[in-house]
Amino acid sequence: MAEVRIAGLRKRYGSVEAVRGIDLDIADGEFIVLVGASGCGKSTTLRMIAGLEEISDGEIWIGDRLVNELPSKERDIAMVFQDYALYPHMSVYDNISFGLRYRISDRAEIKRRVEQAAEILGLTPLLDRKPRQLSGGQRQRVAMGRAIVRDPLVFLFDEPLSNLDAKLRVQMRTEIKRLHNRVRTTFVHVTHDQVEAMTLADRIVLMRNGEIEQIGTPDEIYSTPKTAYVASFIGAPPMNLIPAIVDRSAKPMVRFGEVSLPLSDALSARAGPDGRKVTVGLRPEHFVTLGPRSGASASLPIKVDVVEPLGSDTLLFFSLAGVEGIARVPPEQAVRQGERMMLEPNLDRIVLFDAETGKAL
């Protein structure tokens, strides 16, 4: 087990810079998820940790060793690939033991390790099968088994769940989490799926355009996004982002066209001068529906465009100040399409972003 330290990491392909200076300290035994849209540099970062890409600039430390100069086989890491990278012509046993044969000469020890890993992953009856005779989830387990027997300092996962169907993905997600609980080794997991990131990570590293947008626990990332981009990336449905103007003509407020909402004292202190353009962020679940004629001052008059009942709750789609908004309300509230009503936001949960920089205020 080991911590991983990344400092000033860069990757250039010719004139294109895929990773533009990343600093990241991963604690021993921590489960880190790198998440972001495709092309954000998350996979490149992982491949540099793995030693599959040369490092253009910066340093990577695993434990107390600077690994920039080490070939991947000497870095003591194991990786689970997106397509599992199982050798199609070898049995499950050979797939798991193939790499081990070049590290350990003791055949009995190899056998012991493979059988133990197979036991953990429920692969014991499948050891003689070929990969093509396995289901997607079983292949995934074999790939994990290959990593486990190596007993590495760090596990790397490169989008390991993206080839699975939705149901299996949830199941394997749990399995990865269980594995982490069991081995308590450092995990670095790359995904584009924010749900995966939220459910698995001790800390999420959200990347954008080759840079880190925010690092934090799932709760921090969800509740206090540092930028509007993070707010829109995390959460399904995403946070409502509504352009507004700070209005200090009476008490501090944010104004969307005709309507306005009062600002809490804490927010008001950070909101800046009168007339400043801001983006108001509100999670869909932070709304309460009121009758159309409710006189509450801090409420927004809306017309419901679409109603999507999900069972556990209901989504209301509306438009406000020219942007689409979504509210998540309890299912027992009967709302009809086209209905006019008032929405009362939880004023304490409002997040304000600068309209130009997108940074949280």
Binding site: A50, G51, L52, P71, S72, K73, E74, I77, A78, M79, F81, Q82, D83, Y84, A85, Y87, P88, H89, F98, G99, L100, Y102, R103, R146, R150
Partner: protein
């Protein structure tokens, strides 16, 4: 059944064409088993007095077994060399490295040089290597074929990049990655290279004609040509010899027609 009615004009052309294509085979086979004088006129359409005597005569009057074994040895050397050398080069070309463009350029320009344009210096080089009149001397120029290098490269490129990467991370040595991971997964390319190398080496005539002097290192085509020049007027045994020389090639063709065609049209499909 609509189609079968519309088909008959096509068959009307293709059946005579097929007969024309097959007649030479039939004619040599018929001659080779004709028991009586093959110069009788008019020639019989069916073999008269069919007999295997000519094959026996061919077997004893020429060192057929020697030619055959020599041919097999040359072909075997060439096949093994091509799989190892071409697969290795094809694998190297799946990497990105400085100078790759230059190497590709060398291969592509070598492709533009037919072997026939090199026979004089190639002969002099073979003399200098001390390989004149040896089986290795015959086989050496066949040890690598550029088209097969590219067939191997294409087949390695089609495998997921994660396979060699996973093996590399596990500490498998590079040459074992090639031999134990990549090569077993490139079986179609191996089959194609075996078939093409077989046909090219088995049929090769000009080069052995240049580097071989003695009967005991001659291959089948050389033996055939020599037989022809010894007996200026042909005998039925010659045609028995022809049939025996053709059979292995025909067998390989029928066993591996698909690989053969795939190899030959690899360039056509790219275009």
């Amino acid at each position: 059944m609509r189609s079968r009615n519309a088909d008959w004009p096509v068959h009307l052309i293709l059946i005579p064409v097929s007969i024309l294509m097959l007649v030479p085979f039939y004619w040599v086979l018929k001659t080779s088993i004709t028991g009586e004088n093959i110069f009788a006129y008019p020639p019989s359409i069916l073999p008269s007095d069919p007999h295997l005597f000519n094959y026996v005569e061919a077997w004893y009057s020429i060192p057929f077994a020697t030619y055959f074994i020599n041919s097999i040895l040359v072909v075997f050397l060439a096949i093994v060399a091509n799989i190892l050398i071409d697969a290795a080069a094809g694998y190297a070309l799946t990497f990105h490295f400085r100078g790759k463009r230059l190497i590709m350029l060398i291969y592509l320009s070598c492709m533009m040089i037919p072997f026939q344009a090199t026979i004089i210096p190639a002969y002099l080089i073979t003399v200098n290597l001390g390989l004149v009149n040896t089986l290795l001397g015959i086989a050496l120029p066949h040890f690598s074929h550029i088209i097969l290098i590219f067939i191997f490269k294409a087949s390695f490129d089609a495998l997921p990049r994660s396979l060699p990467e996973a093996a590399r991370m596990d500490g498998v040595p590079e040459w074992r990655i090639l031999l134990q991971v990549m090569l077993p997964l490139a079986r179609p390319a191996i089959a194609t290279s075996v078939v093409l190398t077989f046909i090219w080496s088995w049929n090769d005539f000009l080069w052995p004609l240049i580097v071989v002097r003695d009967d005991d290192v001659s291959t089948l085509p050389l033996g055939l040509a020599r037989f022809l020049s010894y007996f200026e007027d042909t005998t039925a045994a010659l045609y028995a010899f022809v049939v025996m020389a053709l059979v292995p090639g025909i067998l390989v063709f029928f066993l591996a027609q698909r690989q053969f065609i795939e190899g030959l049209t690899a360039g056509a499909r790219k275009g």
